[in-house]
């Protein structure tokens, strides 16, 4: 496989590591993930462009992108958090260059940015309640964060699992983990990302920084989702294989003193990724409902966004 075709081998490996893959995935695995991610990005861009055209605009806005994932409330919430912190970071940079902005993205740094929190701009979306009305009251402090807290449940669970993983880590390992967490398709690689995703072909070649950032965020999510799903699949497969082995060759299972070390955990293979992609692409019952009683069950469908 031509390795130069794939530009994000390292990033994907890092993301997979953060998502729970301990082994070293093969280039084929990262390659297939990269292809999938690219397909998703292009699909997102196409749909967002169509949405923008419906609005009467030629260039896509962040709202168009968020609109595509609006049903995944947890993801939207994470994205908003991400964006608002990005805003905070930008203003902080302007005001005080000394603040280590890189830390702000980390959850560990959330505590010490208490004063920033006051200024943290709330990203309002056009389909929210406040847009019902022509006038916007000034921000109040009594924001009801109930919904946000609910949406954060998934994020918190994820952070918790990361915390569990890092508990037993040495300092070096933890540093490695932190570095991996910062892996991004877009961070300081905006141009490469745009070329890779074919921005010029699908939408305007020079999009808003925010859009690239959102896409960077979303690509990370995609890799994560794929990896988690693939790991689940692999686990199931492994369980199945061990039970089969137990049934088939009980003899060989017996280990002896001078046997070599047992086989370690094998990394995720491309077939797991493919299976994970297939499962994630399974059409939702919701989208099939309107075709009931009307045939057309085998109609071609678009790529589902993850």
């Amino acid at each position: 496989m031509a390795n130069d075709r794939f530009k994000y081998k390292l990033e994907i490996q890092q993301m997979m590591f953060v998502s729970g893959e301990t082994g070293e995935p093969s280039p084929e695995t990262t390659g297939i993930i990269e292809d999938i991610v690219r397909g998703q990005v292009i699909e997102m861009l196409i749909q967002a462009t169509a949405q923008a055209a419906r609005r009467g605009s030629r260039s896509i806005s962040t709202d168009d992108l968020i609109f595509l994932i609006r049903h995944d409330k947890a993801k939207v919430s994470r994205l908003r958090t991400y964006l608002s912190w990005k805003e905070v970071r930008k203003t902080a940079k302007d005001q005080d260059r000394d603040v280590d902005t890189a830390d702000l993205v980390d959850d560990s740094a959330a505590g010490d940015a208490l004063k920033m929190r006051q200024k943290r701009a709330k990203i309002s979306l056009p389909w929210e309640v406040s847009s019902f009305f022509s006038e916007q009251p000034p921000e109040g402090d009594d924001e009801d964060d109930e919904e946000e807290a609910e949406a954060n449940v998934a994020t918190l669970a994820r952070l918790k699992s990361a915390d569990e993983r890092t508990k037993g880590m040495t300092k070096d390992e933890y540093v490695h983990f932190s570095e991996c967490r910062q892996a991004s398709f877009t961070f300081r690689k905006s141009k490469r990302f745009r070329e890779w995703a074919g921005f010029g072909l699908v939408t305007d070649a020079k999009p808003n920084d925010d859009i690239v950032d959102i896409l960077g965020f979303l690509t990370f999510e995609i890799v994560q989702v794929l990896t988690e799903e693939a790991l689940r699949i692999k686990d199931a497969e492994d369980r199945l294989q061990t039970t089969n082995k137990e049934n088939d060759k009980k003899r060989k299972r017996d280990r002896f003193l001078f046997d070599g070390p047992g086989e370690g955990r094998t990394p995720v293979e491309p077939r797991h990724i493919e299976e994970a992609f297939r499962r994630l692409q399974r059409p939702r019952a919701k989208s099939k409902a309107m075709r009931n009683f009307e045939g057309g069950g085998v109609m071609k469908t678009r790529v589902g966004l993850m």
Binding site: W127, V129, S134, E135, A285, A289, N292
Partner: protein
């Protein structure tokens, strides 16, 4: 129909079939007589038949007194059985035939002295439950009715003319009798409609042929009769008059044509066939035409003979048939006056049948049957035609002059022609492949037997000497054994062959002549039935009901007839319902064309009065009309949302949204006040949303329980709900097409849900059916929904949204009071401030702005009484708001400028000040002043913001390239939803008609019940202008 269903004498086809079977069994009376006491099976059948016949009234009991019977079914079937069993076999077989058999004998005898026997029959008919068959029907049962009935004294009349007249008379009488019989049978037999279609088709063919003949005749130009109808001296009666007229012809200012018309008027009894030159033409043609018409009218048989045989239909026809003939041609020839004698005419007619029999040699061919029937018919009709040979008058006169024997006139007219006809007839008849016939026909004219021994002819008729020629015709062409010539006159071989032939024919006739009664019915009512059937077919063209056809309407005449028949029936129940005046009016009605149809053909006439449940109470009573069981008001609430449940929460949410919008509007107004130096009267629209109230459709009636199926109303109600959901989702207004689209999608979705539910309901598992909750869950899953989805919708999109909305409203209120505070903090009069604040909070100040302060209609009054408090406050308020806002926004700048006192403003430039200016600008300012109406000029800075021209900006290169841009007008404060491209024209919300399963009272309903009626209509108009093409839920809130 009631009179038929409850008729005492209902006899359906089955019974008739049975009877006709027995009848065919005994088709040869001689045989029957011989075998009279025989065949116990037949006897038993007949006994059974007779018994059932009598039992009919008991089986179908009638309310009517006249038809009621004391007998019960049990009596008839059980108790009386032995009697019948005793009776029937003992009496002769004839009596067993339902009492029919003996009657013909009696009737025929009575016919000799009384022609009106039919009437008698009719009179005493109704009370007797099993009606004896009318004579006419019996006559029709025997194959040769006319001959058999003819009374001896009449047939004995010496003159052939007389005999023709008598025959005609008799034929007519028979026809009338048959008609009466058929009419009578209406009430005794229920005829099915199956043969109507054939009747219609045949009638159509006949009409077509009529048209064709007429067209052909007309194409030949004026027929010769006019030219023949010479007005010359040959007319005997009017000879002198005509001579006189002829003499003074020049002095009569009338055209020949008119004269001729006059003449024919005078000679009224003369027909179109009349001719002066031709003796006997009128009589002959008159009769001949009648015969042809009569033959044609027998559509059941005549259809095939109406028109010329087409070469396409039968390519070899003209090889076999050298001399084709058909009824149409005969008619044409008649019109062309091509016949010189009765014989020629008869020959042509016979030629038709002979051709047919010859061409269709196969004895089983269906046309043969028709041909033979027509032949028979012809034989019956021939006596109608006087035996006349048309001769020129001149010739006759010459003969008269020459001859002295007066008596010989008639004889010579008669006898020679008969002879000659018979002689000439021979070759024609011999075509019929009947070996015996030539011999016989040769013999008959000579022998002239006074008594023909016809087997099976009733006694009275048997002795009657039939005129020779008639008999000859009959015997030569008849099919049934009755007319077999006497043995003495016929060689045995001929007789045998004749019998053979007859029997074969008989065989094929049987299927048609199943039941003579039925046959009479068919022939007598054919025309009427054809008409009725064609009307019916018009209604049901193309196998579906034709909505464009005129409605079936009860005619007064028909109803009257029906009522009369009911009265005649003696049914007091039916009669007493009808109000006397109506009945009288109907009685007075002129008799219409009497149609030979039973009442059930005219369904509309016999529709009984619908008993109505409408009762009128006096004026003092509250409700005037009461609907009883049939119709009732539809229950309320079918088209509104139930008062409890999710809808209530949504309503609350929407109320909050409306409140918040109101506050938003006020904030917008205040913001504009802040930035603007001047406020225009029409600047602020009044925002006063009305409460959502769902309205019921107006009262309408339903006839049954169950859901109301009215697509339009249901759709409108659905649309209303969707509009509410739209509003709930934050859309203040939306395009009607969007609403339509969403309604369509939602309708389709709910239809799918319904179908899925039905599918699961109808599915039968081996373990049983699905439980209701299972069905529901399955349906949701099949349609891509889960309980979680629904729950999260309710939780997030409705309940939590409500919380958010309330929160937002509070914040909006806070924001508004924040905006108002600077204007209200240092008002001298705290109460006024309170009040004013109250105005704002309650949203009343727009009223003040719109109506009091800026309402020019009130301005005069305001001036007279001085400024009212509120308007004064408003002005003060505006000033304060503006100043405080400016102070807020430019606080830093003002702080800076307080250090020094600003220079005094320049005085406005006026004509006086202009003099001091330099000469260069004087002309410029002069022009400006002139344009300004000699008023002092105002500095640009002092102009209201709107009138200020934007300051030109110099680009970096220092060149002014673009002309000044016009100031952008418009506040831009409106919501972006209103800026949609291509707003369609405003759609008036159509109040959909209400509908129901049964009766619908579609009514328009007002769009919304207005909560506060104080809304100025002026404003509503403006609101419409602001958002053309948009509709808001308020406008579609009503169904």
């Amino acid at each position: 129909m009631s009179s038929f269903s409850s008729s005492t004498n209902l006899r359906v086809q089955l019974l008739r079939d049975e009877r006709s079977r027995t009848r065919t069994n005994s088709i040869d009376p001689a045989e029957t007589e011989k075998e009279d006491p025989i065949d116990p099976l037949t006897a038993a059948c007949r006994a059974r038949y007779a018994r059932f016949e009598k039992a009919i009234p008991a089986i179908f009991p009638s309310r009517r007194p006249c038809c009621a019977t004391d007998l019960t079914v049990h009596e008839l079937l059980g108790v009386e059985e032995p009697n019948y069993a005793d009776d029937e076999p003992l009496t002769n077989g004839v009596a067993k035939d339902g009492g029919d058999k003996p009657t013909p004998v009696v009737r025929a005898r009575r016919a000799e002295e009384d022609d009106d026997y039919d009437m008698d029959e009719e009179d005493d008919e109704p009370p007797a439950p099993p009606p004896p068959l009318p004579a006419a029907i019996l006559k029709a049962r025997s194959p040769m009715p006319t001959i058999q009935i003819s009374s001896p004294d009449r047939t004995k009349s010496p003159s052939g003319k007389d005999s023709a007249a008598v025959t005609r008379e008799k034929l007519e009488a028979d026809k009338k009798a048959a008609e009466d019989a058929a009419k009578l049978s209406f009430s005794t037999i229920f005829y099915t409609l199956e043969s109507d279609r054939d009747a219609m088709l045949e009638q159509q063919k006949l009409d077509e042929s009529d048209r064709q003949v007429n067209a052909e005749a007309n194409a030949q130009g004026a027929p010769g009769k006019l030219s023949n109808a010479n007005l010359g001296a040959s007319s005997l009666t009017l000879k002198h008059l005509i001579a006189r007229i002829d003499a003074k012809r020049e002095r009569v200012a009338v055209s020949d044509m008119e004269l001729r018309n006059l003449m024919s008027e005078v000679k009224k009894n003369r027909s179109k066939w009349a001719s002066e030159d031709k003796i006997g033409q009128e009589e002959l043609y008159e009769a001949a035409e009648k015969v042809v018409l009569e033959l044609r009218a027998q559509t059941e048989h005549s259809t095939a003979f109406l028109n010329r045989v087409n070469k396409r239909e039968a390519p070899d026809y003209f090889n076999i048939i050298k001399q084709p003939m058909d009824l149409g041609t005969v008619m044409k020839k008649l019109k062309q006056l091509a016949y010189k004698s009765k014989k020629e005419f008869i020959d042509d007619l016979n030629l038709i049948w002979q051709n047919c029999l010859q061409y269709n040699a196969d004895p089983k061919h269906y046309l043969r049957k028709h041909a033979i029937a027509m032949q028979k018919m012809t034989q019956n009709l021939i006596p109608l035609i006087p035996d006349i040979t048309i001769r020129d008058r001149a010739e006759v006169e010459a003969e008269e002059a020459g001859a002295h024997d007066q008596d010989a006139d008639a004889e010579s007219d008669d006898e020679p022609i008969i002879t000659s006809r018979m002689n000439r007839k021979a070759p024609g008849t011999s075509k019929a492949k009947k070996g015996a016939k030539p011999v016989r026909t040769e013999s008959t004219p000579e022998a002239k037997p006074p008594i023909v021994n016809i087997q099976g002819v009733p006694d009275g008729a048997r002795d009657s000497p039939v005129p020779a020629h008639m008999l000859a015709e009959a015997s030569s062409l008849s099919q049934n054994g009755f007319a077999t010539p006497p043995l003495a006159h016929t060689p045995s071989n001929g007789h045998i062959s004749q019998l053979d032939l007859d029997s074969t024919i008989e065989k094929y006739e049987v299927d048609d002549d199943l039941d003579p009664e039925y046959k009479i019915w068919k022939t007598m009512t054919k025309k009427s039935r054809a008409r009725a059937a064609s009307e019916r077919h018009k209604l049901f063209r193309g196998d579906k009901i034709q909505l464009d056809e005129p409605a079936l309407i009860r005619a007064r005449v028909g109803m009257g007839r029906y009522i009369r028949s009911e009265l005649a029936h003696g049914d007091k129940d039916a009669a007493k319902d009808i109000k006397a005046p109506l009945a009288v009016a109907v009685e007075d009605q002129a008799e219409e064309v009497d149609e030979m149809l039973p009442n059930y053909y005219k369904v509309m006439d016999s529709v009984p009065e619908v008993p109505w449940n409408l009762s009128w109470l006096g004026d003092d009573e509250e409700d005037v009309d009461k609907f009883h069981e049939n119709l009732r008001l539809a229950p309320k609430g079918g088209f509104t949302q139930p008062p409890a449940g999710l809808g209530k929460v949504m309503d609350t949410n929407m109320k909050v949204i409306q409140d918040t919008r109101k506050i938003c509007h006020k904030i917008g107004v205040i913001k504009q006040m802040q930035t603007q130096t001047q406020i225009y009267s029409n600047q602020f629209g009044k925002y006063d949303p009305k409460e959502f109230v769902e309205q019921e459709p107006e009262d309408f009636l339903v006839s049954d329980d169950g859901p109301i199926m009215s697509a339009e109303v249901c759709r409108a109600a659905f649309q209303r709900s969707i509009g509410k959901i739209f509003y709930h989702a934050g859309f203040e207004d939306y395009q009607p097409t969007a609403l339509d689209l969403v309604t369509d999608i939602a309708t389709s979705f709910f239809q799918k849900i319904g179908k899925t539910v039905m599918l699961y309901q109808e599915t039968v598992l081996p373990t049983g059916r699905f439980e209701p909750d299972e069905i529901l869950l399955h349906t949701l899953a099949e349609n891509g929904l889960e309980i979680d989805h629904l729950e999260s919708y309710i939780r997030d999109d409705i309940e939590r949204l409500g919380g958010k909305l309330v929160q937002l409203r509070e914040r909006m209120r806070g924001h508004l009071s924040d905006l108002l505070r600077p204007a209200l903090q240092d008002v001298e009069n705290p109460e006024a401030a309170e009040e004013d604040m109250g105005h704002f909070i309650n949203g009343d100040f727009t009223d003040d702005i719109g109506d009091d302060y800026y309402g020019f209609k009130d301005l005069g009054l305001e001036r007279e009484f001085g400024m009212s408090i509120s308007s004064g406050l408003m002005r003060v308020l505006q000033g304060r708001i503006t100043s405080s806002y400016q102070a807020q926004s430019s606080s830093s700048a003002t702080v800076m400028t307080t250090d020094y006192t600003p220079p005094p403003p320049f005085e406005p430039l006026s004509r006086e000040l202009l003099k001091d200016q330099i000469g260069l600008v004087q002309n410029f300012f002069l022009a400006k002043l002139h344009a300004n109406g000699e008023e002092p000029l105002v500095e640009d800075e002092d102009l209201p913001i709107k009138q200020r021209a934007p300051k030109p900006r110099l680009p970096p290169n220092g060149k002014i390239t673009t002309p000044r841009k016009r100031p952008v007008s418009g506040q831009g404060g409106n919501s972006k939803k209103k800026k949609r491209p291509n707003p369609p024209p405003p759609v008036a919300t159509k109040p959909p008609p209400a509908g129901s399963t049964a009766i619908i009272a579609p009514t328009a309903t007002p769009p919304l019940s207005e909560e506060n009626n104080g809304a100025a209509p002026k404003f509503d108009e403006k609101d419409m202008d602001n958002t053309p093409g948009m509709m808001s839920p308020e406008s579609i809130m009503a169904v």
